[in-house]
Symmetry: C2
Amino acid sequence: MRDLSRGWRADGETVGLVPTMGALHAGHLSLVARACEENARVVVSIFVNPLQFGPREDLARYPRPIESDVSLLREAGVDAIYMPSVETMYPRGASTRVVVSGVAEPLEGAARPGHFDGVTTVVAKLFGATEPDCAYFGQKDAQQVAVVKRMARDLDLGVEIRVCPTVREPDGLALSSRNAYLDPAQRKAATILSRALSAAAEAYQGGEHDPARLKATLHEVLATEPTAEVEYAELVDPETFRPAGTLAVLAVRIGGGRQAPEARTRLIDNLDLREPYPG
Amino acid sequence: MRDLSRGWRADGETVGLVPTMGALHAGHLSLVARACEENARVVVSIFVNPLQFGPREDLARYPRPIESDVSLLREAGVDAIYMPSVETMYPRGASTRVVVSGVAEPLEGAARPGHFDGVTTVVAKLFGATEPDCAYFGQKDAQQVAVVKRMARDLDLGVEIRVCPTVREPDGLALSSRNAYLDPAQRKAATILSRALSAAAEAYQGGEHDPARLKATLHEVLATEPTAEVEYAELVDPETFRPAGTLAVLAVRIGGGRQAPEARTRLIDNLDLREPYPG
């Protein structure tokens, strides 16, 4: 992979990387399309990274539709698909972690201990293996974007991080590979996230700029869906992820009260309330 | 710095990096000479990295003879000197660390908490800023070599780590910028490190392969120098730095019993007992 990338760069061609865990949807493909517009060569990595999953999370059942992923990427015209094995990425004896403090600590960092260490470690490795000029991430994972930007800057990685907008279903649901876990009733309930964000954005744009009240609006809307269990709903600064700011961030488990928490589907979404609201 | 390096590499030239903290001596210059032999372009970085010094260590008094360093490097014919400020390397808000577990934990890792996190973080940044093909380190800092190799491999950095032998004074003392702290009596006492290593190597090559007895030999020789306070003297595996192996590693404080421990000069040295012994 590195030889390929170095060959391209030696020929004066720019290289764009889109890191994914596969199970590609239109959100990923929007990143790929932008990478193809902006670079002579595009690499898409597919790696379901065990390091970023907690012990009670969905690593085993995470969807891995490799054949359809590959054919989608062929169609999109990418130059290479980098698909390392777990053994290649984490051979016996590997013991290095890239750790970001500060922005990686609250919210997703608190809810998923070790998650961002796994993300930053694998992203550093993917940058090392593919040596891109630019890498593309989705705003859907807003805190991941902030953490990866922080890492790339702090370690002088020389990779520009470009962020693409969240892609949504017509009813507002943010695209996510984890939406595949939802049954039809849950799928309907899942729109509660974008509806809560819409309500807060509408309030903000109507002149309500008090973070406590905007947060209350998020919680009020989320409370109308009885199968939704709110993990967090906050107004934070988009760079530090500390309160308060204009970025509304949500983590909600969907799936009814009878199931064990880890059997429910955990969805996240976010919206900068200064932007037009979705759904 | 990165533009310069990328320009060279785009022209098909290889780039070698010699990371230093300045206060250059013949040990550093041997790394520079080898880098010049093996690469079209050579970068030497000079950066006294605050992150790798403990709160009670010698950061403030570490020698910084910048002018003579620069003229030595000019004479050696290097292509660039990379000399970032502390503010450039660690701007406000920087919060990323590269952390190696395992090999970074015993010995120097235990004696100097946080030291190797500082080393791996700065080396990752120097690799990011200079994008070398190869980087050169001295065997004098044996555990640092093992830790940096581990990191470069684990993070797929694409930089080959090359290790050069320890350079010694005629009486066996390993060259170190910290030797400048020694007064004439201490300078004489400091030869106890290489004398201990010599004795163990002589024993090993005479057929004594029992690590416990070789370790006892190290301690016996070190005990003959009353101003030497032994921090550790072990036989370890040269890759994992766990006992037992053929690499004899020493950390000794020189400077007499009346001084506070942090005012004494801490010296390290090492020798693979399978090799010809020094001094």
